[in-house]
Amino acid sequence: MQPQISERYLPEKDSQACGLFGVMNTAGERFGGEMAINAMVNMKVRGNGLGGGFAIYGLYPEYRDYYALHIMFERHQLGAKEIVDEFLADHFHVVYDEEIPTNKKATVLNPPVVWRYFVSPRQQLEEENNLSDDEFVVEKVMYINTRIDGAYVFSSGKDMGVFKGVGFPEEIADYFMLDRLYKGYIWTAHSRFPTNTPGWWGGAHPFSILDWTVVHNGEISSYGTNRRYLEMFGYYCTLYTDTEVMAYAVDLLMRRQGLPIEVVSRIFAAPMWDIIEHMEPERRELYKTLRMAYAPLLMNGPFTVIVAHHNEMFGLTDRIRLRPITAAAAGDFVFLSSEEASIRAVAPRLDLAWTPPGGEPVVARLHTRDHLASLARAV
């Protein structure tokens, strides 16, 4: 019998930190990957080569009306691709699909096959007719992730995509040739230092559902509570890492329930009760209500996240800021990073650099200066 090949890598427990970076052009101009890649190189000591990844928005303008599915197939289970192809043909119009081009000379270990499909939903069953396109796609993504062994959906949004794997971020960028082939108006990036969960291709960041992506540094110790709550809404965690809950939670709160990040950040990183006690009465009521209504989505433990979706990128830390974040602005560019130096490494002339307090989001929105709202209480 053939020994089973594992595509996961278990480092010995070693505490460090992940590196996060995000850059957005708020005028919507698309730009290449140099800044995101070089910023990650600058923060190399924050990762250990067991995970790197990028999310790019404004990626596929020629297919902007179609959901772009990036799907990974483990090499020892390539049969999964046939099953997925059949599944997609049953439920979608696939207008174009291809293997995502890779640089065969890149130094990455055991890469899986990564394929992209541009699809539009084809709702056949009666019960599916009630679903919006987005709900339909979420349901099918969950089906692939939970039911088809060896296949994992990296991303499933329109005009965006996630590229990730095991390696340092610059190696992953080299493997997918991100600096040569792609442009976007938002790039987020992650360098992984896995501590509690395995380093494997599906477990690299960003995590994504529809066009929501999350990169994360820290540890969501409320994972169990969060995951059980999200299961009630049809989100299933399959990727062996805590960050996944954050992607599904933003999809639930922001897309399905329509809450703005300014409110959602008070759910994820709710202020302490004794701080709430000293607020103005109206604010106090709001914060109390949010804490009570959304207690299972309080994200406990140290974290910094950079979340993006179309037209918006935001950074948020836990309420007592146990992980770092720095924001900066230069012209139309807004930056979020684990370290100020990595921003200065790629944009030496900054107009502003600042650090918001824990739990206070920095929100960059297309055609606005909303990111400056976080300056008021920053240092």
């Binding site: 010995e12 270990l109 770092p324 370290e339 100020e340 240092v379």
Partner: protein, 283 residues
């Protein structure tokens, strides 16, 4: 151990690819007691190797150019046989743990610093012409740190003192939460120079778990912003002499006027107990 994991793909991110001194010597120029190091794209061990090499070659003032995020600058510079201390000028953005374990030398940053400035620093001086990140002066046990602008979370966390060794931290701007957390000794001065008239300091949980040392605070705070372990006291003559000395030093570094700062009201924060958690585990 990283090595035992190598076959699984774990890479050594700290020491992988570190070049020897011979390969790096062109980055260092020494002119009598002055030296210059071009730090562009060097990793932190390479920079500290070059600083040490310059110091052993007799340099007393070392300028680092093009620093961008390299950590631990100025650590590993314990030079018992050497006369005199080293002065290191950093341009522009040093990485985390600047001056960790600093052994009596002087570091001047011409730009912003990141997290962990003066981590467990033993003696010497760090002057930052800009802001600094989280955990400034963490576990610091001697010497002085002057930050021109504001600092992030948990400044002075577990700062300590022992007999004659009393560390001093002076911050020109304001601070974020958990300022002076678990402080066990030392002198911390927060000036609030960048607050608007009537604007309170933003930090909550100031002095939480504090059980030694003293915080002098200029500018307003509400009682609920303080940790349960601190009391608020008025200043006495000894306090004013201390403030005069260290605010004077601070203003000389940054070319400010000490008198107008010292004329304002300060309060003194001190722990109400030396063992705030002494009863937690007692029967």
């Amino acid at each position: 151990m990283a090595v035992s994991c190598a076959r699984y793909g774990l890479r050594e991110m700290f020491l992988g690819g570190v070049r020897s001194l011979d390969e790096l010597r062109s980055r260092l120029s020494i002119d009598g007691q002055e030296a210059e190091i071009d730090a562009r794209d060097l990793v932190h061990k390479e920079i500290n190797d070059l600083i040490r090499e310059a110091a052993l070659s007799g340099a007393r003032k070392i300028t680092l150019l093009n620093v961008c995020g390299q950590r631990y600058i100025g650590t590993r510079l314990f030079l018992p046989q050497q006369e005199g201390k080293i002065e290191i000028h950093v341009y522009s953005t040093p990485g985390n743990d600047l001056g960790a374990f600093l052994a009596g030398h002087r570091i001047v940053v011409h730009g912003n610093a990141q997290d962990g400035v003066g981590n467990t620093m033993d003696d010497g001086e760090i002057v930052v012409h800009g802001r600094a990140g989280d955990i400034v002066a963490m576990a610091m046990r001697g010497g002085r740190i002057f930050i021109r602008d504001s600092v992030g979370y948990r400044a002075a966390i577990h700062m300590k003192e022992y007999t004659g060794k009393v560390p001093v931290l002076v911050i020109g701007g304001t601070a974020q939460d958990f300022f002076g957390e678990y402080m066990a000794g030392g002198i911390v001065i927060l000036l609030g120079l960048n607050l608007k008239p009537g604007e309170r300091h933003h930090a909550h949980y100031i002095g939480t778990g504090m059980h030694g040392g003293v915080i002098y605070l200029r500018g307003e705070v509400a009682p609920y912003q303080l940790g349960k372990e601190v009391g608020v006291l008025e200043l006495d003559d000894k306090d004013r002499r201390l403030l005069h000395q260290y605010v004077g030093e601070f203003t000389r570094h940054f070319k400010l006027n000490a008198e107008s700062i010292l004329d304002d009201r300060f309060v003194k924060l001190m722990p109400v107990s030396k063992r705030p958690y002494g009863r937690i585990y007692a029967y």
